[in-house]
């Protein structure tokens, strides 16, 4: 651990980029607090969710954060669990990131679930074992315990044997929790576009991609594109891993779309057709989230590091749209239930746009991440031990 004081917290290099991130962090943190206050006063009426579209941006942002957490955990485990040397140097920072993004996700979901205290009580007293949400929440709780203890043995009381044991526990519980999060959507028999095996598998894949993007961004910001040799070696391997993962993701997505369209199954085919013609899918998911990073890796033969840092920024925007579309696309087809003209117009795709409060809380979660990461960098030595 580093020597830490409140005064120390305000000391950092006042470079334009640092100042920009500091201001951004403070603004987002303020937005989160303001959004939380407004939500406490007005409840779910502060959100633009409805009976027909009961989940919105906050669920998407929760998924965004926990995807980030799981992704960082999985990629870091390549080093300290599976023993690939180049990846061992990122272990502490990646696990710190996994804890922080998970806490940010919990902060967001606590303001989405109407009764979080009741949730904690009755999750234990009357557990719903057939509920994917119960498994997801419980496993994420276990995952948090594992990776926190792992972080303890990585940074505070360094013990590689125990950090590896808890690292394995964290990896397995993280994989289980995250695929259960996919199952939250995959189990919905009422929503043909989401129902099935795709999401539990896709969530793990997209988590790994998110982990790669975040590592580029975290280390790109830390080293300002002037990397030590050992980090370059790690990035070159990460490029290849990310290229392969993006290739698999594109393959998965393509077949998901083709199978959904084939045979024009009612509700499913028209929904997917609507989805793939939407700008959030074309520009957000495909272009920013997949094609730009994939093309850079492909055309540089996996040798580009600096461009990948910038491509990871577009990639994370794409990942956000993947999460947003995941929720929105699942709910977009109206559940008319024989209602035709009494309560609504003849079926059209549902529209949803987040309220200011939802934006404040959802994106405010990123402020929590930035703030906690800054504190973690101040309090703990997140660099590899051999450097010191």
């Amino acid at each position: 651990m580093n020597n830490f004081s409140i005064k120390n917290l305000f000391e950092f290099n006042k470079t334009p980029l640092n100042l920009l991130v500091a201001v951004l962090g403070i603004v987002l943190l303020g937005a989160f607090l303001a959004g939380a206050a407004y939500y406490i006063l007005h409840g779910h009426h502060a959100f633009n969710v409805t009976r027909q579209h009961p989940w919105g941006l906050l669920i998407a942002m929760y998924v965004f954060f926990v995807v980030s957490s799981t992704g960082l955990c999985i990629i870091s485990s390549i080093g300290h669990v599976f023993g690939v040397e180049e990846f061992q140097q990122i272990g502490k920072r990646a696990i710190a990131g996994a804890i922080i993004t998970l806490l940010s996700g919990f902060a967001v979901i606590a303001l989405e679930v109407g009764h979080p205290v009741t949730m904690i009580i009755y999750n234990v007293l009357t557990p719903g074992f057939t509920s994917a949400i119960w498994w997801m929440g419980t496993l994420y709780g276990i995952y948090l315990v594992f990776i926190t203890i792992e972080f303890f043995f990585l940074t505070i009381k360094v013990d590689h044997k125990w950090s590896k044991i808890f690292g394995i526990g964290g990896l397995l519980s993280g994989l289980a929790a995250h695929s259960n999060l996919g199952a939250v959507f995959g189990f919905l028999i009422s929503r043909p576009t989401a129902n099935g095996v795709f999401y539990p598998v896709y969530f793990i894949l997209s988590a790994m991609i998110t982990g790669c993007y975040l590592l580029y961004i975290i280390y790109g910001f830390k080293y300002r594109n002037d990397y030590p040799e050992q980090l370059k070696a790690m990035f070159l391997k990460l490029n290849k891993i990310l290229g392969m993962l993006l290739g698999i993701l594109i393959f998965f997505e393509a077949w998901k779309i083709i199978t959904a369209l084939y045979g024009t199954m009612p509700e499913r085919a028209e929904t997917i057709l609507h989805v793939i013609s939407s700008p959030t899918f074309i520009f957000g998911e495909v272009l920013l989230g997949m094609l730009i990073p994939f093309a850079i890796i492909l055309f540089t033969n996996g040798q580009a590091i600096k461009p990948m840092v910038y491509a990871s920024l577009t990639g994370m925007i794409g990942i956000f749209f993947m999460r947003y579309d995941l929720v929105h696309d699942t709910l977009i087809y109206p559940m008319t239930m024989l209602k035709r003209s009494e309560y609504q117009l003849p079926p059209t795709f549902l529209e949803y746009f987040p309220s200011a409060t939802e934006f404040a809380i959802g994106f405010g979660g990123i402020g929590i991440t930035i703030f906690l990461f800054y504190v973690a960098e101040k309090v703990f030595n997140l660099d590899p031990d051999r450097e010191h």
Partner: protein, 187 residues
């Protein structure tokens, strides 16, 4: 112990929507666009003028199907949604955490958020307001002027509803999902 269900002679529905009003009054459902336990859907007439099929224009009273295999019950993380002794799918407001997963999971759009309790609410066949007081009908059934609805015990072979679904053909909604709904639309 019973297994309650409802048969709907929907072709007799005249779309007066007295059932909706009775339900709201009986159960204290608050006003609001999303706040309703039951509804009457309308299927538009088919064809183009002058060949419009008047017979094709029908009304579809609907509500929670009180499935024997309810998706909303399966997905509930705290078992707040449960089957009571009469097979009625109900919500325990003490346990509901308002995750709204059940609203997403219900294939029948039967659930909404009740602002009185800030939990999820739905039709419970008037269990609290009428059945608990010894009455044998629901408010929507009692008020219907054309006797569309027949409520009763599906396990009692002599009940009106058992007699009806034994003698008449019926259809169910989205039964291919395996939900085993207990609403029967008489043909």
């Amino acid at each position: 112990m019973a297994r309650y269900g409802m048969a709907l002679d929907y072709k007799s529905c005249i779309n007066c929507r007295a059932c909706e009003s009775a339900c709201k009054a009986e159960n204290g459902v608050l006003p609001g666009r999303d706040n309703y336990r039951i509804w009457v859907g309308q299927k538009e007439a088919e064809g183009e003028f002058p060949n419009i099929s008047i017979a094709s224009m029908t009304y579809h009273p609907s509500q929670c199907q009180h499935c024997d295999n309810a998706p909303c019950q399966q997905v509930c993380p705290t078992n707040a949604t449960y089957y009571d002794d009469n097979g009625v799918v109900r919500v325990d407001i003490e346990k509901c955490i308002l995750c709204t997963y059940c609203i997403n999971a219900c294939p029948y759009d039967a659930r909404y958020v009740d602002d009185r309790t800030v939990t999820v609410d739905k039709c419970n066949f008037c269990s609290d307001t009428r059945l608990a007081n010894g009455e044998t009908t629901t408010a929507c059934q009692a008020t219907c002027p054309t006797k569309v609805r027949t409520f009763g015990d599906l396990d009692d072979p002599n009940s009106d509803i058992s007699q009806l679904i034994a003698k008449r053909e019926y259809k169910q909604v989205k039964e291919h999902l395996g939900t085993k709904p207990k609403l029967f639309y008489l043909l």
